[in-house]
């Protein structure tokens, strides 16, 4: 079951990025790439030569594996098929955040490792954004777990009533996910201009298979966060009954994540990138939403 879940995550995750790009192109009335482009990219990276900087140390070589494995471990923490108990008692929502931090820590070090000023810039900015994401994320986790009685992710899996608190928390989480997955208005995945790139600057020196692993990890992270938001506002039970019902269930299962992806795409098309120092305000707003979610859960709404 657990292996199935991970394979499923790896298979679906790039599709979400493809979907977002397709929707963005549709909204901009462009004729863009196929929805499968992220897969082509991954395959392409695997067959490219890899260039490693001569300044780099073992940190640079090890970082992709750690980033990759942290994303995989994180995807194990998310309950997909079993709701009432954890598949493996590894950790809860708080642990999930720290596991992602592990990956980010090594990526930021690897960026500094090559001695390029792009890398330093990227890692400095990434750490800046990440450290402001943290309090708001903590507030959201607080709101969710106050409502469901535990910081465990399985607590809000399965069918549960949708409350004002969980909707507000989901909204705050949505803003944070934009920052975590380096999307407009916080960051821009499409840019390679030194003034605007954050995450891209950090992985600038990576190429070939290492880049493929890092990209895959980023897709997985995005998938996990979308999944959590979907879990909050579109609760879903277990598939029951005959084949048709299971089929409908799987459709809804994928559609609700796609809804989040569409929302992200719409936000990306309609907003301009913020200045780096305005990011704190943006994330401050998410923080305030988190507090509102806590207040709502106290009021029982």
């Amino acid at each position: 079951m657990i292996i199935l879940q991970i394979i499923l995550f790896i298979l679906i995750a790039p599709l979400l990025s493809g979907l977002i790009t397709v929707i963005k192109n549709y909204l901009r009335m462009r004729k863009g790439q196929s929805i499968l482009q992220p897969y082509y990219n991954l395959v392409k990276f695997f067959y490219k030569d890899e260039v490693i900087s001569e300044t780099a140390s073992w940190i640079f070589r090890v970082a992709p594996f750690i980033v990759f494995s942290s994303a995989l471990v994180a995807s194990m923490l998310v309950p997909v098929f079993i709701f009432n108990r954890p598949i493996l008692p590894v950790g809860d929502f708080i642990a999930l955040v720290f596991i992602f931090t592990l990956g980010r820590f090594f990526l930021a070090l690897a960026a500094l490792d090559t001695g390029s000023s792009f890398g330093g810039m990227g890692s400095s900015r990434e750490m800046f954004i990440a450290s402001f994401v943290e309090p708001a994320l903590c507030m959201v986790i607080f709101a969710i777990s106050l409502q469901f009685g535990s910081t465990d992710i399985t607590a809000f899996s399965g069918l549960h009533p949708i409350t004002v608190s969980s909707v507000v928390a989901a909204l705050a989480l949505f803003l944070l996910v934009i920052a975590e997955t380096s999307r407009i208005p916080i960051d821009n995945q499409e840019t390679h201009l030194e003034l605007t790139m954050v995450h891209e600057a950090m992985v600038l020196e990576y190429s070939g298979r290492s880049l493929a692993l890092i990209e895959l990890a980023a897709y997985l992270k995005q998938m996990i966060f979308f999944f959590l938001i979907a879990q909050l506002i579109f609760p879903i039970g277990l598939p029951l009954g005959n084949f048709v019902q299971v089929f409908l269930w799987s459709l809804w299962f994928i559609a609700r994540i796609a809804v989040i992806a569409i929302a992200v795409a719409v936000v990306e098309v309609n907003l301009a990138k913020l200045r780096l120092f305005r990011v704190a305000d943006f994330l401050g707003f998410a923080f305030v939403l988190g507090i509102i979610a806590v207040v709502c859960s106290i009021l029982g709404a």
Partner: protein, 611 residues
């Protein structure tokens, strides 16, 4: 005779034993390390005296945490402070050491004065200096007196612990001492103040109002935030570590403060749990901060500088030290599966459980404190990415770093021991927590025999929240497993060619160390985001040859030390002014002095008669 002495003056309860373990776990590696660290730096007789001082220092700390009498406690507390003062000014030729020592000894004695005042009030009520006698007397003490004693203790021990705004001495004194001493000072000595708070406030005074806990929590939150923001701005490795100690004291105090708060709310199981979190972070911080200071010492010995901007690329010159520093940095950044992660997780969990069981506004209060703790941990990650990245990665930024050599064997052994502990205390979390629960419950005087507590399914026998879980061994196993899978995928599939080539330089062809990101540049976004508190200012100077040609350009950026500028400097100025006006009383006439003595005597006689 000896038995009698031990019975009369010592108290070896679980709390004392725990602190003894902390003291020796850090002191032993530091002692091994010191052999080759001191060699070559100082003349032989000085090394000998340093070892003697170290021995007395460790012994005095051990006595501080195990005596059971206020007077004896004070004596050892004072010995500890004085010996550490001598160790801070050990570099007697260094002007900065002397100044640091002065700040340290003044601050620490202000703290001691408050502790003495508290002891005097307690003695007045208990008519004894014995802990147990005082504890018994405290149950009938009026609340007003208790509040005053609590505040006195908080200021007194807070000075030693480095609670903001009493932290002022810490970033001066800790970096100036030899590195193995810094590791003991930061790792252990400031923890004796936490011991003081737990022993005297929680154990002896007893808690029955909620504002004590709230006050400690607020102070802890401010301390941790201020500490880490200053640490981020630092470019001196050891000062950075010292500021980060301020931060970690804040996190430890969060656990202690939560415990105090929960006692007043009658959530006794949660109080035990929070104190476990606090104590766990205490021992963790001792381990990784000790380790980081030892690593910083190795870097200093190898390069002769503590300025991060002059370092870089040391991972190739000092591979062992780099690994140890990396482990320490990961642990302090609370990255799984190392020890810092477990205690940070426990502290956040304590906040959550508290909020779940508290009512109304206190939920929001605890939530905001937890969020600030999360911000602190986010900033700590950034801070240690900067520290490790700038010191060890990329190309050497100066000749200091280029000529660095790996540390000698005893130094490596010292660091290795502590590095192994960061892993062990992460993986064996369940065992550690089990033994800490005994310490915590005995300190709080709460019976936990019907409380079951397992980490891999966090559960309380009296149900206070739904279950949650954390298993660091499993987490570590999975991380390793998936890394290996990633590596296998990497090796087996695709094109296996990897080219070693220059870093991309935009076609500039001259990418050198000067192009690298610096520590100051790394912290720039933070400096701007926290500019309301840091009040940064810059000095630029252009030397022009003509209007169009600038010959040289210097740029400096500084941050204002708010507490020093707005609290301490006016205070010292006032003190000096006061001293000057007092000088008029001393004109040098012996007759006048005799007059003073006579007047004092008369006043004292009246005082004794009346009161």
């Amino acid at each position: 005779m000896l038995n009698l002495l031990i019975e009369r003056f010592f108290l070896f309860d679980p709390l004392a034993l725990f602190f003894l373990v902390v003291i020796f776990i850090i002191s032993l590696p530091s002692f091994i390390y010191s052999f080759s660290y001191l060699k070559g730096e100082y003349p032989a007789f000085k090394i000998f005296s340093a070892q003697i001082l170290l021995f007395v220092f460790v012994l005095s700390m051990a006595f501080v945490v195990s005596v059971s009498n206020c007077l004896v406690f004070l004596i050892f507390w004072e010995i500890m402070s004085l010996v550490s003062y001598f160790l801070v000014v050990f570099d007697t030729n260094n002007e900065r050491s002397i100044k640091a020592g002065l700040v340290y000894i003044v601050m620490t004695h202000i703290g001691t004065a408050f502790i003495i005042a508290a002891f005097m009030i307690l003695y007045n009520h208990a008519h004894s200096f014995d802990f147990i006698a005082i504890k018994n007397a405290c149950s009938v003490m009026p609340q007003r007196t208790k509040d005053i004693v609590f505040l006195l203790f908080l200021i007194g021990f807070g000075t030693k612990a480095g609670i903001v705004p009493l932290h002022i001495w810490l970033p001066y004194a800790h970096p100036q001492a030899p590195s193995h001493i810094s590791s003991i000072m930061s790792g252990v000595m400031i923890k004796t103040a936490i011991y003081g708070i737990i022993r005297f406030v929680i154990f002896i005074l007893g808690i029955n109002t909620s504002w004590w806990g709230i006050l400690v929590l607020i102070l802890a939150t401010i301390t941790s935030l201020v500490g880490i923001i200053y640490a981020l701005m630092e470019r001196d490795i050891k000062r950075l570590l010292a500021y980060s100690s301020v931060e970690n004291i804040g996190i430890i105090l969060s656990g202690v403060g939560l415990a105090m708060y929960f006692i007043s709310l009658n959530l006794s199981y949660l109080a035990v749990f929070s104190l476990i979190a606090g104590l766990y972070h205490l021992i963790n911080h001792a381990i990784f901060k000790g380790l980081l200071f030892l690593c910083a010492g190795s870097v200093y010995k190898a390069t002769g500088t503590r300025d991060m901007e002059k370092l870089g690329g040391l991972i190739k010159k000092m591979p062992h030290t780099a690994v140890y520093f990396l482990l320490g940095a990961m642990a302090i950044s609370a990255l799984p599966p190392l020890n810092g992660f477990v205690s940070e997780w426990l502290t956040l969990q304590a906040f959550f459980l508290g909020a779940f069981n508290a009512i109304g506004g206190s939920k929001i209060f605890l939530g905001i404190c937890a969020a600030m703790l999360a911000l602190t941990s986010g900033l700590a990650v950034a801070c240690f990415v900067k520290a490790f990245g700038i010191i060890f990665l990329a190309k050497p930024r100066s000749h200091y770093a280029e000529s660095a050599k790996e540390a000698a064997l005893p130094m490596r052994i010292g660091m290795l021991i502590l590095a192994v502990f960061t892993v062990i205390f992460g993986l064996a979390a369940a065992l550690v927590i089990k033994s800490l629960s005994g310490v915590s419950s005995s300190a709080l005087g709460i019976d936990i025999s019907n409380m079951s507590f397992f980490l891999n399914s966090l559960r309380f026998a009296p149900q206070i929240a739904k279950n949650t879980y954390l298993s660091t061994p499993l987490l570590a196993l999975l991380l390793v497993l998936f890394s290996v899978i990633g590596f296998v995928i990497y090796r087996v599939f695709g094109n296996r060619r990897a080219v070693i080539y220059k870093t991309w330089d935009c076609g500039y062809y001259k990418l050198g160390p000067r192009n690298e990101y610096t520590a100051t540049a790394f912290s720039k976004p933070f400096r701007i985001a926290f500019s309301f508190f840091l009040l940064p200012y810059r000095k630029t100077q252009k030397i022009r040859e003509s209007f169009y040609h600038i010959k040289s350009f210097t740029y400096e950026t500084h941050t204002t030390k708010v507490f020093k500028k707005y609290i301490y400097n006016p205070l010292f100025a006032f003190m000096l002014k006061l001293a000057k006006s007092m000088r008029k009383m001393q004109p040098g006439s012996i007759h006048l002095y005799l007059g003073y003595i006579f007047i004092t005597l008369v006043l004292l006689i009246i005082f004794m008669e009346r009161f």
